[in-house]
Symmetry: C2
Subunit: 301 residues, 2 copies
């Protein structure tokens, strides 16, 4: 079933203990789409400036990613991000950022996308996420991401958004910040009470926790990656694998969401094994399936 | 089958955000034995001074814990520990410690314990752990704990010990310190290469990782505890639940160790729900079994 994503497209420069990748393709909608395309057709919405050095049609060639929602805005400049990861690969610093086109008007959703059933609203101002969501006629399952900046400064808008979506995907620090609770189980419960049906809390190398408003819980360790080269895009790939599999199944019961979460975890493990998109573009659905079975074996008792 | 534990007995004073517990019973062999006694008969070895305010026969009344290895040493003083946990319940500081009888000669193993098949050597100087192990005639499965102090200052003795045991149970920081690796998957592999068959890495609220020398892996999240009152003894309860179940099964194949690890995880979740031993003494085998099934449901997909 149709899966729509709205998010950023960036020119990333990434330093990790494994090396440097200069001016490579990044951004939430890019990682999400590449990850989701292993499972379901993706409708891509995003905007770049006319300085963008990447040919996205070439990037997604052979994958079912509909780029009719890509806008190349004349006279604008593409989003730029420079980041450095520390030795432990968990802590990162932003060295440099140019929001550029991301602080202008958002891209328009093409009319042909307005009947999308599954939607991912990547991290941006919650007012914008709401505006985008308002345009979708009859969404079946809407997931969103957010970050500390919006929890701090735009909590009113964020709380409106949380009443409108089905699933929030955030990291552990964000869950603690949003709930004011240090215990993650309590934090998840408090976040759920803000209105959505399901919350997914990402804990990096410690895996993830999914809780539903009807009292169900799922705990999944991360895939045990011996080699982490570049964690950039792990969260968006996780969301892409998750929603891609949900859209492929066309089911949103808790059992379906559990399998989808496992796929998200596995897809993210491929992302972090190389710089930029190389980890994802270098794998296949059959490798993903094989690693999913490995993860099932590693976690069953 | 017979399970022997050697470790400390302490007079603990514990401060957590939930309150203070003054001069309560603690120590590794105490938590281990209470946890293991849900599964198998325990042979207890430890030493206190004649100032010890606790009647251990009363503490373990109704449980199959053989106290013939308990020495009350005349003229000596019992081990004392004061600790404070921070708000996040992960960081703790030692406010005060008196090693007392723990820095004297170790307790003697009673002759009737020398045929023990399953053995846990709780954290102490590795030379002492080796001396204790040398006395056991034909152990089937020996597990040990250690800490930063011995990795730093007694690495030679520790490496001798690691070649003699079957299973090392350590936390994530200790695994990183012992291996010099920041990635836990690589750290576990390097620790395994030091000689034991199985390494278990405890990650606190993030669960645990078990790897075997023959290439098997098991990942288990922690039980999602909404209320953590006092984390003291969680690690020794985990080890007690694990080895207790191993001894009960009498099997050490990887599938048996996986189930045992899940029992260790569940038993530790009861320990941390109250001060000192109250979390453990307030539960039952049937509650433990029910929570194990809950954990299985929470983690299967």
């Amino acid at each position: 079933m149709s899966l729509l994503v709205t998010g950023s497209i960036g020119i990333d420069t990434i330093k990790t203990p494994h090396g440097v990748s200069e001016r490579c393709l990044g951004g939430s909608s890019i990682y999400f789409s590449m990850a989701a395309s292993f499972f379901a057709p993706v409708r891509f919405v995003g905007v770049v400036g006319d300085d963008c050095p990447f040919d996205l049609a070439e990037v997604f060639k052979g994958r079912d990613v509909d780029l009719r929602g890509l806008e190349v805005r004349s006279g604008s400049k593409t989003f730029v991000w420079h980041g450095t990861y520390q030795e432990n690969m968990n802590d990162r610093t932003t060295d440099y950022v140019e929001l550029n086109v991301l602080q202008e008007a958002p891209p328009k959703l093409p009319d042909v996308f307005l009947d999308s059933r599954f939607v991912f609203l990547a991290n941006t101002a919650p007012a914008l996420q709401l505006e985008l969501l308002d345009q979708i006629a009859q969404p079946a399952f809407v997931a969103a991401d957010t970050m500390n900046l919006w929890i701090d400064g735009h909590l009113g808008d964020l709380k409106k958004l949380l009443k409108r979506i089905d699933c929030l995907i955030i990291n552990d620090d964000e869950a603690r910040q949003l709930s004011g609770r240090s215990n993650l189980v309590k934090a998840a419960a408090d976040v759920l009470a803000m209105g959505m049906k399901v919350v997914i809390v990402k804990k990096g190398e410690s895996g993830s926790l999914m809780c539903s408003a009807d009292g169900q819980t799922f705990l999944l360790p991360a895939y045990p990656a011996a080699e982490v080269v570049d964690p950039t895009g792990a969260g968006d790939s996780f969301a892409g694998g998750f929603l891609g599999h949900v859209a492929q199944q066309g089911r949103t019961d808790f059992e379906a969401l559990k399998s989808a979460l496992a796929y998200g975890t596995v897809v993210a493990s491929f992302t972090i094994a190389d710089f930029s998109l190389s980890g994802l573009t270098g794998t296949s659905r059959s490798e993903i399936d094989a690693r999913l079975e490995e993860l099932r074996r590693f976690t069953s008792f």
